[in-house]
Amino acid sequence: MTGIESGAAGFGQGGNALGRDNYLNHERGIKSWLLTRDHKRIGVMYLVVILSSFFLGGIFAELIRTKLLTPGNSALMKADTYNQMFTLHGAIMIFLFVIPGIPASLGNFVLPLMLGAKDVAFPRLNLASFYLWVGGALLALGSMVTGAVDTGWTFYTPYSTTTNTNVIMMVAGIFVLGFSSIFTGLNFVVTIHKLRPAGMTWFRMPLFLWGIYGTAIIQIMATPVLGITLLLLIAERALGIGIFDPALGGDPVLFQHFFWFYSHPAVYIMILPAMGVISELVSVFSRKHIFGYSFIAMSSIAIAVLSFLVWGHHMFVAGQSTLSSMIFSFLTFMVAIPSAVKVFNWLATMYKGSIWLATPMLYVLSFLFLFGIGGLTGLFLGALAVDVHLHDTYFVVAHFHYVMFGGTVIAFLGGLHYWWPKMFGRMYSEFWGRIGALLVFVGFNTTFFTQFVMGSHGAPRRSYHYQPQFEAYHRLSTIGAYILGVGFVVIAVYLIHSLLRGRPAPANPWGGATLEWQTSSPPPHDNFESTPAVGDPYDVEAWTWDGAVGGFVRRAPAGQPAGS
């Protein structure tokens, strides 16, 4: 029985393909994975390594929080170890997890499927990006053995040029990771430009693709500047080039300018794909067409453009002139406009929808709440006078965790739960999914909301010792971190369990109208058995629940039987 016949038999478009030929069993053996050019397998491999980095970075976070239970010296780690620990936590989470997170894993898997294409434009380059990631990660992590870096993830000069830890190795690793990121972005831009099917105009693309597109543009345009900055840092340390050394006529603040010229846009590399995920989920789980499609799409591009113009807000207190600070402050406030456009469009999508509180939707609601707080506290920090008080306090730490974690990681989890049945052909436990989402939400807020309060009272970030008056906050924050840890263990357990014992997933478990739901779960090697028809990606109301299939089928056009 072919797949098409089983589809005609009422099992939905393609149905479940676990027992049939699919991308997971198309070829067998470890070599068929390591040398694959299939974007789906590369996406899954990225998922594995990215989640492993997340685990490692999370371990460091828990250790840091455990030390901070007490204000004084700790038997757990010495002050130097603490410095290395928060540096590694930051570098691993930023460069190995959050930046590649959504585009490289979910994006790689979903992007060609959403386009109805067979693969990305350059499959071999895609595999090369993956191995560049692996090589860069090994170099960066190798510095843990050869002299773990203690500069903080920003590698500010002149400390990074004088510390005796292995900055060169870490920075070289990140340089290589940067190439991985550039090639992924390049691949996605070309794929979106050249492989869109007939009928899918720019404004009929799913919004996730707009998010990925905006991200890819930033990856292409900002990452090379990080590349040259890191090369200069390496040259400074290895050859004494003197370009950041004031004793030789160099300028250490130039490093900060270069670094943030990349690293601020990088924040949007992290958040834009997350916003893309939310745009998909909010429509599907409100069972309603997305509201304000073109505004959401164009605001992605607006954010991408503005992201290049705000780096100076990291240097408000670094001797920048008042005029530049004012301009950067103004531009920073401008970013709030497209971000708010998105949030209000999502809210309007939910308004009068029939909201289905499945696990992915719980993450959407978390996202709206946490990103709201994260975004608005960004305005506090973008205001010049307030920033003088708040900079380098726990307020900043809380702010960017609300954006990075409350925004990107929560959306990543939402997207992971949304596409999980498509990726592996099995459903996870909905009950435990909701428990996990709840634990993450509670744990996260306990950890980081406390830090807003502590920071506004002036607690400095990154310090090993702290004043006893902050002890209660630190304890509460650490308890939150433990709850968060438990939440992730729960998620890991039920997701792994679902791989082995999960109920086979239908082709379209959530009633999404984008093309990836029109192939089997998991998809076949060539993605589609027959070229899917391109329609409105948010016509979710055309899909209706069918108990016999255990998933959604297309509502029958007048005069035809359902499920065809």
């Binding site: 492989l195 500047v225 090369l231 006529g249 603040v253 001797g319 002139s321």
Partner: protein, 271 residues
């Protein structure tokens, strides 16, 4: 469209294996490759952009250093090198044409000439580097040249500096307080009209070696790519139906050339 169809038809059977399974036709594949390469070239420009930015910052912070120090560079060798690279771009463009016309021997010859010109460029660059090395005109911490008190008495090995040195000044007015946010002007520079070398001459050489060094690495990468193209051309892989790799290598090579065309006046011809 009809042209595309006939083109595809004519290659069916012999070159169809060049079209990967996820592309509809050779046209789409070629356009994708070309777009990808242009984007990659944009990232290359941004990579160099960081150095151009550093150049701008340091030149505006230390204008007198740039005016003083650039005279240690050999303009003649720089100009010859510029000509060499422009010629190599020309032979590269001819090579792409030869590939399109399916003239294998001509293609091999032109690729070989391009590689030879690239090697010539690197050789001349090596001569220049050696000169700097001998005189200690190096970057940052390694700068140990003994600068004569006034420009006319430069190290003997250098050609005499034009007598006009005294009035030779940058047309860019020195920034009064330096671009805000960047470094303060550092140590006081030499007073107007006084004799003697300015402070921080090594800044110029740091910028010089970084920019030409990174460019040199790109030339070496280009030579490797060109050699690979020669191997593939030798196997007869290229013809009217399939020239993408030669075309893309050509684009890369022209970019390498173009960057040098910016480096040459910025470093050698400062006024």
């Amino acid at each position: 469209m009809a042209a595309g169809a006939t083109r595809e038809g004519s290659v069916a059977g012999t070159h169809a294996h060049h079209v990967a399974h996820h592309f509809d036709n050779a046209e789409q594949q070629f356009e994708s490759g070309k777009l990808g390469m242009w984007i990659f070239l944009a990232t290359e420009i941004l990579l160099f952009g960081g150095l151009f930015c550093a150049y701008a910052v340091y030149r505006s912070n230390h204008p007198e250093v740039f005016v003083y120090a650039h005279r240690f560079l050999d303009t003649t060798l720089g100009a010859v090198n510029t000509a060499v690279l422009i010629c190599s771009s020309f032979t590269m463009a001819l090579a792409v044409r030869a590939a399109q016309l399916g003239r294998r021997r001509q293609l091999l010859g032109l690729l070989g000439t391009t590689i030879a010109l690239a090697a010539c460029f690197l050789g001349i660059k090596g001569v220049e580097y050696e000169q700097k090395w001998k005189e200690g005109l190096l970057w940052g911490a390694h700068f140990h040249a003994k600068l004569a008190p006034s420009p006319p008495a430069l190290p003997q090995t250098l050609p005499p500096v034009p007598a006009a040195a005294g009035e030779e000044r940058s047309l860019i007015p020195p920034a009064a307080i330096g671009p805000a946010g960047l470094a303060r002007p550092g140590r006081p520079t030499v007073a107007e009209g006084s004799e003697g070398p300015p402070h921080d001459v090594q800044v110029f050489f740091a910028v010089y070696f970084l920019m030409t060094g990174l460019h040199g690495i790109h030339v070496i990468v280009g030579m490797a790519l060109l050699s690979w193209m020669m191997v593939r051309a030798g196997r007869g892989e290229f013809g009217p139906a399939y020239v993408t790799p030669v075309d893309l290598t050509g684009l890369y090579w022209h970019l390498v050339d173009l960057i040098w065309i910016f480096l040459f006046p910025l470093l050698y011809l400062i006024r």
